[in-house]
């Protein structure tokens, strides 16, 4: 099962290495990991998606907690949290189908952020199913390159 962990860590050198090493050593698979600063400059937030059973999730959380630089761990319930991910895709286009692609991007509230004679780059933000649908629709045109940020998430309310 996939779980999204929101991990607050002290913004110190080597913290990412500690977290990554822990996952590798204990044999837990990271699906995605996004890290960035928070409203407090000395604290970073890592959003980690792991694919583990309930029992292993407990271990992941407890082992993470043992890292001295880890301040807080929240297991985000999809019901009570919001999650987004951004994808950038470079699509092969020509004069004939460029507008079609732009239309698809529009439907997904995407932005065209680069245009050249042979390709355009589309940026879309959303949850995982939306991004998957977006990718599926663009595949027939030819995806030259694609990059995803990994999921970021916050609990709702309060």
């Amino acid at each position: 099962m996939k779980h999204t962990l929101s991990v607050l860590v002290e913004n110190k050198p080597g913290v990412l290495a500690r977290v990554a090493e822990l996952f590798a050593r204990r044999g837990f698979n990271i699906e995605s990991l996004a890290v960035g600063t928070t409203e407090k400059p000395d604290i970073s937030r890592m959003t980690i998606v792991v694919d583990v059973e309930e029992h292993s999730l407990e271990q992941v959380r407890k082992q993470l907690h043992k890292l001295i630089n880890v301040i807080e761990i929240t297991d985000l319930d999809p019901e009570t949290s919001v999650a987004r991910e951004m994808v950038m895709a470079k699509i092969k286009v020509d004069a004939g189908n460029r507008s079609e692609v732009i239309e698809i991007a529009d439907i997904f509230r995407g932005n065209i952020i680069d245009v050249s004679s042979e390709s355009i780059i589309v940026e879309v933000t959303g949850n995982a199913p939306k991004l998957r649908a977006f990718e599926d629709l663009l595949k027939p045109y030819g995806i030259r390159e694609l990059v995803r940020t990994g999921k970021v998430a916050l609990p709702r309310g309060k």
């Binding site: 860590v9 090493e21 050593r25 407990e58 082992q63 907690h65 043992k66 001295i68 630089n69």
Partner: protein, 582 residues
């Protein structure tokens, strides 16, 4: 106060109350060793950094204080690694300080550069690479705090040479500031009450005591719990000394080379009270058949240990001493309320096992290693500090040197590090100068760190090394004999010629060497060793192919003990009677 980084480090160590530092200097550590020269802290120059780390470890185990070791960068730091990993696996408080190349050279593969924080990341509780000299006082304070609180462990401080040369304004905080580190000390009240009820309602409870009892100084509360409620106690290797082994309720050690009564009791119990233990594979044997009838109360300060290997029905996170104290109180309160079942049947069953299956060995005509350990026990009145190496010697020491008190049995449990015992014994001796310290050693293990004989001699640490010299990597040979068809591949330490001559070796270092081949001379040799003021090495030429029994084969369940007297398995598990051990 303006100080150089090196002086600030030394002052910080002094402020932490450090008495002794084990280590070896080198290029990037010269500023630190220069600053140490005038300090009143004792400096012990070992002959290998691994020795320094193990000595700090041994010191920490017998004193309960934080052990400190030091090395230079690169090879010095990598030499510390085994010792750091060893302390980590056995939860020993240690601060290891390594030099590092100058900050502007880090990452350039400079001379003697190694990524010490990277290397020690998975084998230390925490580590620091200090880049700003102003951080030194805080880092040292935090390192000591982290090392000895919660579940203790080693903390590494990597100190670049320019940082130790630079100046800073020294100021010391009252308390370390660690936002992400707050060990849970107090157990959950409701859980403790549940545990108390479970204990009172149990028909056949067993306490499984680990090293955490000793770390927490919980032996008094443990004794109250056991004796007050008539609960049998089995201990781990690390838990040796947590409960007096002469006590009627002591079942001795459990696990791979544990006693039959301890292992059978675990197989049959309806309630395990695990205290400061972590259900290691050497304890559980085949996990799926571990304690099939038992509910589990698991008390530990490290939440990650709870339900890691064996599911705990009643988990209690907290300091073992505090939790046991509250547990004892809760039991007192509930006693009148709960109707306890009759435990007489359980008591007589277990006592019957205990009487029928004591640890024993065939008293041969030759010199038996078990006999040597028994004699050491007898002559020292069970009061020595016993360090061990790893292998058969370690198991015989555990089996035949019963302990009455904690912090007197020093052995590499989690990592199983050959070469640990001897340097650890030096550290233990310096920490407890008034005590008699023995290293019960194997000929293979001793050769891994024997250069520390020089340290022992020059530092005046009169440790006694008793080598149970079987000419083999004995435990390896035993496994080869039992599970690999007697193919003794690379386990024999002798050829046509014996090497080394341990007695000559001891003498060469300025220690005393004694050789014993005759069982009748064992006693005299031990007495002579004890009466000698300097380090003594006794080369006991024991039976080469003696085995450690009883034994649970790796991967086998605990009731499948092989050894000289096979317990009729069908009595406990009729359906298992036909199954082979492996």
């Amino acid at each position: 106060m303006r100080l150089t980084g090196a002086r600030a480090l030394v002052k910080s160590l002094e402020d932490e109350g450090v008495e002794v530092i084990f280590g070896i200097p080198g290029g990037v550590m010269l500023p630190v060793f220069d600053a140490l020269y005038e300090s009143r802290m004792r400096k012990v120059l070992t002959r290998h950094e691994q020795g320094a780390a193990h000595a700090a470890d041994g010191y920490a185990r017998v004193t309960g204080r934080v052990g400190v070791c030091m090395s230079t960068s690169g090879p010095g730091a990598t030499n510390l690694v085994t010792g750091i990993a060893n302390a980590y696996m056995d939860s020993v408080p240690m601060v290891a300080i390594s030099g590092q190349v100058a900050t502007n050279l880090i990452g350039t593969d400079a001379f003697q550069e190694a990524d010490t924080t990277g290397i020690t990341l998975p084998i230390a509780k925490h580590n620091y690479l200090v880049k700003d000299p102003a951080d030194i006082p805080d880092v040292v304070q935090e390192a000591f705090y982290i090392a000895h609180t919660g579940r203790p462990g080693p903390v590494v401080i990597d100190l670049p040479v320019d940082v130790s040369r630079a100046e800073l304004e020294y100021r010391r905080r009252e308390h370390p500031v660690l936002r992400g580190y707050k060990p849970t000390v107090k157990g959950h009240k409701k859980q403790i009450r549940m545990a108390a009820r479970a204990i009172l309602e149990s028909r056949s409870p067993v306490i499984y005591a680990g090293g955490g009892v000793i770390t927490a100084g919980a032996e008094g509360e443990l004794k109250k719990l056991a004796a007050g409620n008539k609960i049998f106690v089995a201990h781990t290797l690390m838990g040796k000394g947590a409960f007096p082994e002469s006590h009627r309720l002591s079942l001795g050690m459990l696990g791979m080379h544990g006693t039959r009564c301890a292992n059978y009791a675990i197989c049959e119990t309806d309630l395990i009270v695990a205290v400061g233990a972590r259900f290691d594979d050497r304890i559980t044997g085949k996990l799926s058949e571990f304690a099939p009838k038992a509910r589990v109360i698991h008390i530990d300060i490290d939440p990650a240990e709870i339900s890691k290997n064996v599911r705990a029905h009643i988990p209690i996170v907290g300091d073992c001493r505090q939790v046991l104290k509250e547990l004892n109180a809760a039991i007192r309160e509930l006693k009148d309320e709960v109707q306890s079942p009759d435990r007489r049947e359980w008591d007589s069953l277990v006592m019957d096992w205990k009487e029928k299956y004591p640890l024993t060995y065939e008293k041969g005509p030759g010199l038996k290693p078990q006999y040597v350990v028994e004699k050491i026990h007898e002559i020292t009145g069970g009061n020595a500090i016993i360090c061990t190496e790893v292998g058969q010697n370690q198991m015989w020491a555990a089996q035949f040197y019963p302990m009455e008190k904690p912090r007197r049995f020093v052995s590499s449990g989690g990592l199983g590090t050959m070469g640990f015992g001897f340097p650890a014994s030096i550290g233990a001796q310096l920490g407890r100068p008034g005590d008699l310290v023995f290293d019960i050693a194997g000929d293979g293990s001793f050769q891994m760190t024997m250069q520390e004989l020089a340290t022992a001699v020059l530092e005046g640490a009169p440790v006694k090394v008793a080598i149970l010299n079987n000419g083999y990597l004995g435990m390896v040979r035993q496994w080869q004999q039992l599970f690999y068809n007697r193919t003794y591949s690379c386990s024999c330490l002798e050829r046509e010629q014996e090497s080394p001559d341990f007695v000559a070796l001891a003498e060469a270092f300025g220690a005393k060497g004694i050789r014993v081949t005759d069982p009748d001379l064992v006693e005299a040799a031990i007495v002579e060793a004890i009466e000698t003021d300097c380090p003594v090495l006794i080369d006991f030429r024991v039976e080469p192919e003696e085995n450690v029994y009883p034994m649970v084969a790796p991967g086998a369940p605990l009731y499948d003990m092989i050894g000289d007297m096979l317990y009729p398995v069908e009595k406990i598990h009729p359906e298992k009677a036909e199954e082979p051990f492996l």
